[in-house]
């Protein structure tokens, strides 16, 4: 095993120093305290600053811990906040496609539905907020599997077959994820239930990490044409995912 990387060890020491005692330190003080050359410390501070881990006071020129560091500890976005910020876009997606919309996040090896908008036809529907969807058999789950390494790690060893079309081997799921990463969205046709289909795309945070998936689900006859997912529906779902992500601060395209 190789030894510790010197610059990382020094960066850690600088962060620890900034975290304790005085809140702001000058470059010279940091160098002096750690017994390092000013140039070395400056290089490390600049890099930490670029990553947002350290901030420099524009007036005094002194350094302090950056906001990014605070965010690291609780970097997840509150799911209720995600719902509040998605509400308008999800409503619009349902109206545009005429299908019901769900937003799901990874939770205990499955997809937790945190938001559900009815199909806009005034038919009797039941709110499914709080219910779980399978990772390997729905468009929402497959989006998470493809884009979120944690989700992929959560996948069960035995994949439950819901229909004849459910992907039940890890090889098939991995190949599908590869395809989804290339496309940027996922489709599912009668893999979770007979007669049902879904289309979903990833919602990303400001760093591009996947927070969840937004998608439409409904009758396979409406969601597919000749076995394909119509471009109109796919575009609507992807636009919605982009709009929500943009509102959450992601810089896309």
């Amino acid at each position: 095993m190789p030894g510790p990387i010197q610059s990382l060890t020094r960066a850690a020491a600088i962060l620890r120093l900034l975290a304790g005692g005085e809140r702001q330190l000058a470059l010279g003080d940091v160098a002096l305290t750690l017994g390092l050359a000013k140039g070395t410390v400056h290089g490390i501070l600049r890099t930490l600053q670029q990553e947002g881990f350290v901030e420099q006071d524009p007036v005094t020129g002194r350094y302090q811990l950056g906001a990014e560091l605070l965010r690291l500890g609780n970097s997840y976005l509150d799911v209720h906040e995600l719902r509040a910020r998605s509400l308008m876009w999800a409503d619009d997606l349902a109206r545009l496609t005429g299908e019901s919309v769900r937003i799901g996040v990874l939770h205990q090896g499955g997809v937790l539905v945190i938001h559900h908008v009815f199909r806009p036809d005034d038919s009797r529907q039941v709110l499914e907020v709080g219910s779980m969807l399978p990772l390997h058999a729905t468009a929402w789950g497959k989006v998470l599997l493809a884009f979120d390494p944690v989700a992929h790690g959560d996948l069960e060893a035995e994949l439950k077959p819901y229909t004849r079309r459910t992907l039940v081997t890890h090889g098939d799921v991995d190949a599908e994820c590869e395809r989804i990463r290339g496309l940027g969205w996922a489709g599912e046709r009668e893999e979770a239930g007979d007669g049902l289909a879904s289309i979903a795309a990833p919602i990303r945070d400001r760093r591009g990490s996947p927070l969840g998936a937004v998608g439409v689900g409904g009758a396979v006859e409406r969601l597919t044409e000749d076995g394909e997912f119509p471009a109109r529906l796919v575009a609507a779902v992807r636009d919605t995912a982009r709009s929500i992500s943009r509102d959450l601060g992601a810089t896309l395209y």
Binding site: D78, V79, H80, E81, R83, A84, L87, M88, D91, D92, A94, R95, L96, H116, V117, F118, P120, D121, D122, Q125, V126, L127, V129, G130
Partner: protein
């Protein structure tokens, strides 16, 4: 057919919003900005009217930019606003003489008590539909005339203008050309006769308010003038108080239709048709809307002062959460309220109790109570208060509620919507476009300018986006309601006559 777009400006208590809709009622773009809440003393709440005007111009420009549109692409603009909030300004310079007194402000309570000493709280109710309360604009105007140096003289000399926020915005948008208000906003001043739809000389005399201050009262949907500046050339074609706009946006056009809007405060309105109905159970009689030269449509209103503001309080003053939505996360860390009941009478109790001498209480505290329970009891307070006004409405109208149409920022809170359904024991229904306030203003403006042909065209755009159904057993519901009502009794009468600080 070329696309037709309508803008709505929603000037609210906490923020200003501009939304641009297309002719299918779809949202093209939104922009929103908060303004400063000024709390000079307990019970006093002010806004800087000039900052509000600046924010409104910013969000209009912002929404147009996001939609990629020019003002010339807009067929019309509709205005909706926080109601009752009172601005007095100089007609020559356009400068306000004082910060705006916000509807939640209770500084006029002493003045109202004096007024009520002669003829009771309901002395103007027959004419105006309202009790004498610090909530309404009339007493706020009287306070400004009395307490701001020089203002009485300038008002008598005809130098000053009064407006609720609709009036202030239309005056500024038209570059000072139009000094008008609409019937719904005017019905919240305590100064308008509900039947003649004109200012009432009796009330004006009692409050000693010169008529020269007052804007002309117009319908809710007609062209008041053409905008200049950020909306250069766009007809200003509708104005509605925010709650009335939401009633319109929820397509509550029929007698018996009702909606509840969950924002800073919450307001349940029931369409009572072309006759004003007097409440015997603490509700207000108000104008719902008036389309051009049509007869006005009246409504009964249950006003709750503090609902979303409690979330803000938990966030900004108590610091338990960092965003409004996190209250749900915190509330879900516990299974129930842990025995805590909160009565948020921060500015007295509104409907159906109308007790200015009440103040907020939290009861049932034990060593077991934690912050999750506090979050729960804050959310439950909104549900209990809704139940109280629904009960009053059922008593007044004699019609049982079958379901409740809801909208507003708090409808994104799933736990709250479920709790409301549980407490009312009826389904709670959220429509598409939770921004019904803006939608209502856009619809009214679009009706005037031919974007929509008639009310049926608007009805066709209403559809349910979500529905919560009751899940609580009756015994638990009754027990919780009983506890809440015990807590309400404890909140009443907290203010004493010599509590200078609390009542100003």
């Amino acid at each position: 057919m070329a696309h037709r777009y309508v803008a709505a400006i929603d000037q609210g208590t906490t923020s200003s919003r501009c939304i641009i809709f297309d002719s299918n009622s779809r949202i093209l773009a939104v922009d929103q900005r908060e303004h400063r809440q000024i709390f000079p003393r307990p019970g006093w709440v002010e806004h800087d009217a000039e900052q509000i005007w600046a924010r409104v111009q910013e969000v209009v420009t912002g929404a147009l930019d996001r939609a990629g549109l020019q003002p010339s692409d807009l067929t019309a603009v509709g205005i909706t606003n926080q109601r009752e909030t009172t601005v007095l300004w100089d007609r020559a310079t356009g400068r306000p003489v004082h910060h705006a007194l916000v509807w939640q402000d209770t500084r006029t309570e002493a003045l109202c008590a004096d007024l009520a000493a002669d003829g009771g709280r309901d002395r103007f109710a027959e004419t105006t539909g309202l009790p004498v309360a610090s909530y309404f604009s009339g007493p706020k105007i009287a306070w400004l005339l009395e307490h701001v140096p020089g203002v009485r003289e300038r008002a008598e000399a005809g130098e000053l203008l009064f407006g609720t926020i609709d009036t202030w915005l239309i005056w500024n948008l038209t570059g000072g050309a139009a000094h008008v208000t609409d019937v719904t906003n005017a019905s919240r001043t305590l100064l308008m006769d509900l039947r003649t739809l004109d200012w009432d000389d009796g009330v004006l005399a009692a409050l000693d308010i010169p008529r020269s201050l007052l804007p002309e009262i117009r319908s809710s949907a007609e062209v008041y003038g053409t905008a200049r500046g950020v909306l250069e050339g766009v007809p200003i074609a509708a104005a509605l108080g925010d709650q009335q706009a939401a009633l319109f946006g929820q397509t509550c056009f029929g007698v018996g239709d009702a909606k509840s809007t969950y924002g800073t405060g919450s307001f349940l309105l029931l369409n009572t048709g072309d006759e004003p109905v007097r409440s015997r159970h603490g509700l207000l009689t108000t104008v719902g809307y008036q389309l051009g030269s049509d007869r006005p449509v009246y409504a009964l209103e249950g006003s709750i002062a503090n609902t979303g503001s409690l979330t803000q309080w938990l966030r900004d003053r108590i610091g338990l959460i960092s965003t409004a939505a996190e209250i749900e996360t915190l509330a879900l860390t516990v299974e129930d309220n842990g025995g805590l009941y909160l009565v948020p009478a921060f500015s007295g109790l509104f409907a159906p109790h109308w007790r200015p001498d009440a103040r907020g209480v939290i009861v049932g505290l034990t060593g077991f109570a934690g912050k999750g329970h506090l979050a729960r009891c804050v959310l439950e307070a909104t549900a209990f208060q809704t139940r109280d006004v629904v009960d009053a409405m059922v008593l007044d109208s004699g019609v049982a509620l079958k379901s409740l149409k809801v909208d507003g920022g708090m409808t994104s809170n799933n736990l709250l919507m479920q709790t409301i359904s549980d407490m009312l024991d009826v389904p709670v229904i959220r429509p598409f476009v939770a921004e019904t306030t803006c939608l209502g203003a856009a619809h009214a403006a679009g009706l005037v300018t031919g974007v929509w042909s008639d009310l049926d065209a608007l009805r066709a755009d209403w559809q349910r986006a979500a529905e919560w159904t009751p899940r609580l057993d009756p015994r638990t519901r009754e027990r919780r309601l009983r506890k809440y009502h015990k807590a309400v009794e404890l909140a009443k009468g907290w203010i004493d006559e010599d509590d200078e600080i609390e009542v100003g």
